[in-house]
């Protein structure tokens, strides 16, 4: 266990860097987590992160990768709405790495 230090406050995360209290998420925190993952947040990254958060708010779980891709296809076009591009954005996988940056719990199970 450890924590992110943001503007003088400690925000606890689990062994893998997923924050344990999702209400403590903020855009600044997302930037900080992304930096630790060696990711420079661009508009495209934010599009994914924002969608994940909206979906989570509605369903208390991250969307299936396919559902995410379909939404990105709608908003950013076919060149970006595909699995390959998602892995370019989030090399460790859109489901896990993007969730971490979006402050959502890690998807569990055989995924």
């Amino acid at each position: 266990m450890g924590s992110y230090r943001l503007n003088g406050t400690e925000i606890e995360h689990d062994e893998e860097g997923y924050i344990t209290e999702i209400s403590l998420w903020s855009k600044e925190l997302a930037d900080l987590i992304a930096k630790e993952e060696n990711i420079e947040m661009t508009d495209e990254h934010w599009e994914v992160v924002n969608f994940l958060r909206e979906y989570y708010e509605e369903y208390q779980i991250a969307p299936a990768v396919r559902v995410l891709i379909k939404s990105i296809k709608k908003s950013m076009g076919k060149e970006k709405g595909n699995n390959k591009y998602m892995y370019q954005l989030f090399p460790y996988g859109p489901a896990k790495q993007a969730c971490k940056i979006a402050g959502l719990p890690k998807p569990t199970g055989c995924v």
Binding site: Y59, I61, R66, C110, V111
Partner: protein, 520 residues
């Protein structure tokens, strides 16, 4: 032309033997440990939150209870003669060289403690029989190395005494859980199944939204209203499938394949939001109570919905849990139609239809794929399909040959009952064990490289959610695309000709995420 160019039987001669024995690397994997379960994860499945003060006494008591309750376990602990037949049979040993990953050595971590407390020689002359007291050091070794066994049982095939190493690993994990030393990945997931109904924690609302979304995809692809029904009372068939089929690639393509076959046959079928998981991780941690509780969800869903049949989707250990244990745990299933297997595997269902000539395929739709098949360990060595021995090997291959023109098996000593594990089974499919997972995948990946070199194989099919996720993750390490792993029913779904479907024969189904075609 293509066929001639890549069918070169010498092409693989420079590749390493998939089962090549490595140099010994003592202690190489000693530091490999999964994250510990939190007190909450432990409590949710009936175990102490952290290591209890009298852990040593309790562990020994538990071991005594287990050997008293299972003649099998006692025989496995008593009968090893150190013949060495198993030493080079474990994929984790082959990939890591750590001698503690030789199955005999791993079992001995428990066996030496069993000897000390439960055998005459071990009690009075421990130094003569390799008996050892339980200590913190031993407990740490257990935690490390019993989480380097995927319970695949390949070693058991070669053991002249038939010692089932998986049972020994399960017992060790159960003892550890009992004293408060649980593993996060398995135990968090089991808690989610008890609370929500599946490994993912996918609630009913999210499940329904996902399925509706996938129905839209199916309609867009086929022009047909192909349903993914959930909680339909009075349906004939309850489909229980791993929740990864609702979430991950290529698993979802398998789910769409089942739906297409059901649709074509006009079946009345349903998923259940109560039993929205085929997996049963209770088996991985050796906990009969947790296994029973999870199996009971399937029974309850079947009774509540009033179905006549239960079919299991593509999930390896789930099929073992269902085929070998479900009737004992929560049977009898006398309320189901006795004319069908209870439970039935989706491959049995589809295979029977193919045999009867009830399905029509356009195999050319899979011509962008040159295929091989990975026998998943729990299907291969712990279950069966159909009514003949070996059906679990023949049925998947018969389906693949019916839907795909180019099928090639991997080297014989790596398939069927000799299959090598994907490297992520038995509750090890967790990111902190990635180094172990990559090493454990090595024999399978090398076998795949052989058929890739000899036959130009581009894709590998599997019928296990863990295998699919594990391969999607480790294949890139071995020079394959992550989407080179496919579901059997994904290929069925590609090739099946549906009545009234919009025909667009020029379009290979490359657009679908997860479908292959980029291997070049």
């Amino acid at each position: 032309m293509v066929e001639l160019a890549i069918r070169n039987s010498n092409a693989s001669q420079d590749l390493p033997d998939p089962l090549e024995i490595p140099d010994l690397a003592p202690g190489a994997m000693a530091a490999s440990k999964p994250f510990p379960a939190s007190p909450d994860h432990q409590a949710a499945i009936g175990f102490p939150g952290e290591l209890v003060d009298d852990w040593k006494e309790r562990a020994i008591d538990k071991l005594g209870e287990l050997v008293a309750g299972s003649r099998g376990l006692r025989v496995y602990l008593d009968s090893c003669v150190k013949c060495g037949a198993c030493t080079d049979k474990c994929h984790y040993f082959l990939g890591s060289g750590d001698p503690n990953n030789m199955p005999v050595a791993r079992q001995d971590l428990l066996r030496k403690v069993y000897r000390r407390y439960f055998t005459f020689a071990g009690k009075y002359f421990p130094w003569l029989v390799g008996a050892q007291e339980l200590s913190e050091e031993v407990l740490d070794e257990w935690y490390s190395y019993f989480h380097q066994c995927s319970q695949c049982r390949r070693c058991s095939v070669y053991c002249p005494y038939g010692i089932d190493t998986a049972e020994v690993s399960m017992a060790a994990r159960e003892i550890m859980d009992t004293v408060g030393k649980g593993q996060k990945y398995c135990n968090e997931i089991i808690g989610k199944v008890h609370k929500i109904g599946n490994n993912l924690g996918l609630q009913e609302k999210a499940l329904k939204a996902t399925l509706e979304d996938l129905e839209d995809d199916l309609e867009e692809e086929t022009g047909l209203e192909i349903k993914l029904p959930v909680d339909v009372r009075g349906a004939d068939i309850l489909l229980v499938t791993p929740s990864a089929d609702f979430f991950a690639e290529p698993h979802i393509d398998g789910l769409l394949g089942y739906a297409k076959v059901f649709h074509q046959m006009g079946e009345s079928w349903t998923l259940s939001s109560h039993a929205s998981e085929a997996a049963n991780f209770g088996m991985f941690i050796g906990s009969e109570e947790n296994m029973r509780k999870m199996a009971m969800r399937v029974r309850k869903a079947a009774e509540d919905l009033g179905v006549r049949r239960i079919i299991f989707g593509e999930c390896g250990h789930a099929w073992r849990a269902a085929y070998s244990f479900m009737n004992t745990l929560v049977g009898p299933f006398d309320f189901l139609d006795q004319n069908y297997p209870i439970p039935q595997h989706i491959c049995e269902y589809t295979h029977d239809l193919i045999e009867k000539g009830a399905l029509t395929f356009d195999k050319s739709r899979n011509d962008h794929i040159r295929l091989t098949f990975h026998d998943s360990c729990n299907v291969a060595r712990a279950s069966r399909m159909g009514d003949r021995p070996g059906g679990q090997f023949e049925y998947p291959r018969a389906i693949l040959r019916a839907v795909c023109n180019h099928f090639y098996d991997m080297p014989a000593d790596t398939i069927r009952e000799a299959t090598v594990c994907c490297g992520g089974g038995g509750g090890l499919l967790t990111d902190e064990l990635m180094d172990l997972r990559k090493k454990g995948a090595q024999p399978r990946m090398r076998a795949l490289q052989h058929v890739a070199a000899e036959h130009g194989v581009t894709h590998m099919a599997a019928i296990c959610a863990i295998c699919k996720t594990q391969f999607a993750k480790v294949m890139p390490e071995y020079g394959f695309e992550m989407d080179a792993i496919v579901s059997i029913h994904q290929l069925v779904g590609n090739a099946i000709i549906l009545d009234g479907q919009i025909m667009d024969d020029d379009a290979a189904p490359d657009d679908a995420p997860g479908a292959g075609g980029d291997e070049g």
